[in-house]
Amino acid sequence: MTNVAFIGNPNCGKTTLFNAYTGAKLKVANWPGVTVEKKEGAFRFHNGNFKLVDLPGIYSLTSYTMEEIVSRDYILSDEVDVIVDVIDASALERNLYLALQLIELGKPVVLAFNMMDIVKERGMEIDFHRLPEMLGTPVIPISARKRSGLDILMHTVAHHKENDSNKYFEHHHEEESLHKHDHHKEFAMVYSDEIEDKIDVVSKRLSKKYKEIQNVRWHSIKILERDAEILKKYPIETEDILTKNYETEIINQKYDFIHEVIHECLVNKTEKEVFTDKIDRLLTNRFLGLPIFLMIMAVVFFLTFRIGDALKEVFAGWLDIFSAWSEAVLLALGTGEVLTSLIVEGIIAGVGGILTFLPNIFILFLALAFLEDSGYMARVAYVMDGIMEKVGLSGKAFIPMVLGFGCTVPAVMASRTLENPRDRLKTIFITPFMSCSAKIPIYVLFSGMFFPENPALVAFSMYVIGLVLGIVVALVMDKLDKKSSDDLLLIELPEYKTPSLRTVIIYVWSKIKDYLTKAGTTIFVASIILWGLLNFNVTGLVADSSESFGAQIGAFIVPALKPAGLGYWQIAVALIAGLAAKEVVVSSMSVLYGIEDISSNAGMSEMMVLLAAQGFGALNAFCLMIFSLLYVPCVAAVATIRKETNSTKHTVFSIVFQLFIAWVMATLVYQVGSLFVG
């Protein structure tokens, strides 16, 4: 078994390469920091077994961040036979820095030059004959996305496993070394004579005291850099050697050598302005960036509604047929009216009602997958950095907010990237205001019913309200807290790419699968419970649901919801049920009003008549959407908030705070709106 570690800078294509070899479906995205923990996979090549490990992206082998420590500890362990350093060949200067550090480790390293298509696009050529001469290690051009060069890379890995020493270096340095050892024939990276002298002394002391150290030179360099972890692990007498911190000099000299390598190996550089630069001048423009982002999101929601709605009608038609067939079969089997009602009006109406929104969900995630894989989403954090800074947060805080458009659970977890605990807490409090995908059925249903002229616009307004409110709340917190973030946004803007079909399929399928799983489990059980609550009370089966348990529970909170235009026991029950999962608000409406095909045009008309009879109009519907957007997220999200804050107090505050904001906003809109609507 050969153990191969994939390492490299963030967003250089490690996970794409890992997936290509192992057939895994790990999340890949065209933005940095997708892999936060190491992943393992097995692979067989030419009768040899390989264990591949995908490590988090890092820029260097220092030990400042969690990802660097995870990656460094692993590659320093004896578990690794060959290190594959995946290099973004279009950004050689930055990527070669880590490569030099890895080569210094003395372990077998193969450099996989990825993204060669972008190199060509930029009008550059790389001398793959000269590179190994200078670096002393194999360099293989590959394209992980197009799956080219992968066999050659693994073939090289298999051979290089045994051939771990760099035997031949050919450098053409302008200045000759006067160092007594002249390491130019031994190592790729040779420092100034002063530093080499120091390395020699430290190496001698380390070898004498710690005979088990295999890569003495690397450890010596780390000691000169005053690496806290190495100094603690291998304490030696250094007072006479470390007269100053050599870290900056070592870094500078590495970059000098990198420039030398680039000068010799990167030829025909035409300084061609690539597609990415041209697009970025517009998309990340100081004034146009934000309006363009809002416009792109508006297009996404327009597509979600227009195309999704057309397909939804087809699904609703199938549900109708299935529902009628089920009812006929159940009655023929003699199951009785009550059980037939449970299955048809409870389960089929509840679960089926949710399934008919699948086309909308599909279109939304398809569009988001395209945006993510194209490289645009990373720009959004950059564009928002200025605004976030004004509200006392860094642009980093916007990444969880963007993720919140998909699901609040990973969004809350993504707040981990914020180093300042106060910023993290603020971000956790505002992230649930973002409109997660589970709320889409609510918007589709109510905007379709009450705003048939502009359903997409009304739904889009929910996204904007959530976003703006999140920013306003952050601003208020900042004014109260008076401790602004010192966490700077440092984000790499990846090249724009044509989204990979495989990546998009994996992304969309995982979301669809999640939606179907939720419909078949949480919503299934919630529909049955709700049916029970609406058909029984203490005396047993009730003919009128207004006498049921559900009505009694709903009536209890109706007075509180009345000022917000939501003073109906059915709405109260639907909102309580929505705590299990936000889609349940819609399935509850099906069960509450006994409409089997709630998402079809006929179902919507039927529901509108029933709601209108209760005095529930367009303004009430808008307030319901606002309340659903802002009130407590689902139990899964609340549990995640509890876990991430590690505080019951903060979790309870978050619940009360969101309920309060939702009530205030819905009440405000209803009361002001009533003045105009009358």
């Binding site: 479906k25 790990l26 999340k27 995205a29 936060v36 159940l330 089997l333 003699g334 199951t335 009785g336 059980l339 449970l342 299955i343 389960i347 998909g406 699901c407 659970v409 990973p410 977890m413 993504a414 981990r416 994996i506 992304y507 995982s510 979301k511 699968k513 999640d514 799983t517 939720k518 489990t521 949480t522 299934f524 059980v525 049955i528 689902c634 139990v635 899964a636 999200a637 549990a639 995640t640 876990k643």
Partner: protein, 51 residues
């Protein structure tokens, strides 16, 4: 007879869903864990303890 079988299936399935949900929450998985992009997907109770 059909009524008994259907009620049995429904009760059994609901019990299974609730049991699995409770088990997952105890294991530190708070949702359906279906999203490959979710950070919580592979997290186990043991990993959380280490945190």
């Amino acid at each position: 007879m059909a009524r008994v079988i259907i009620i049995g299936i429904l009760l059994g399935y609901c019990a299974f869903v609730i049991y699995r949900k409770v088990k997952n929450v105890k294991a530190g998985k708070f949702c359906d864990c279906g999203c490959s992009s979710c950070e919580a997907k592979c997290h186990k109770k043991e990993e959380r303890k280490q945190d």
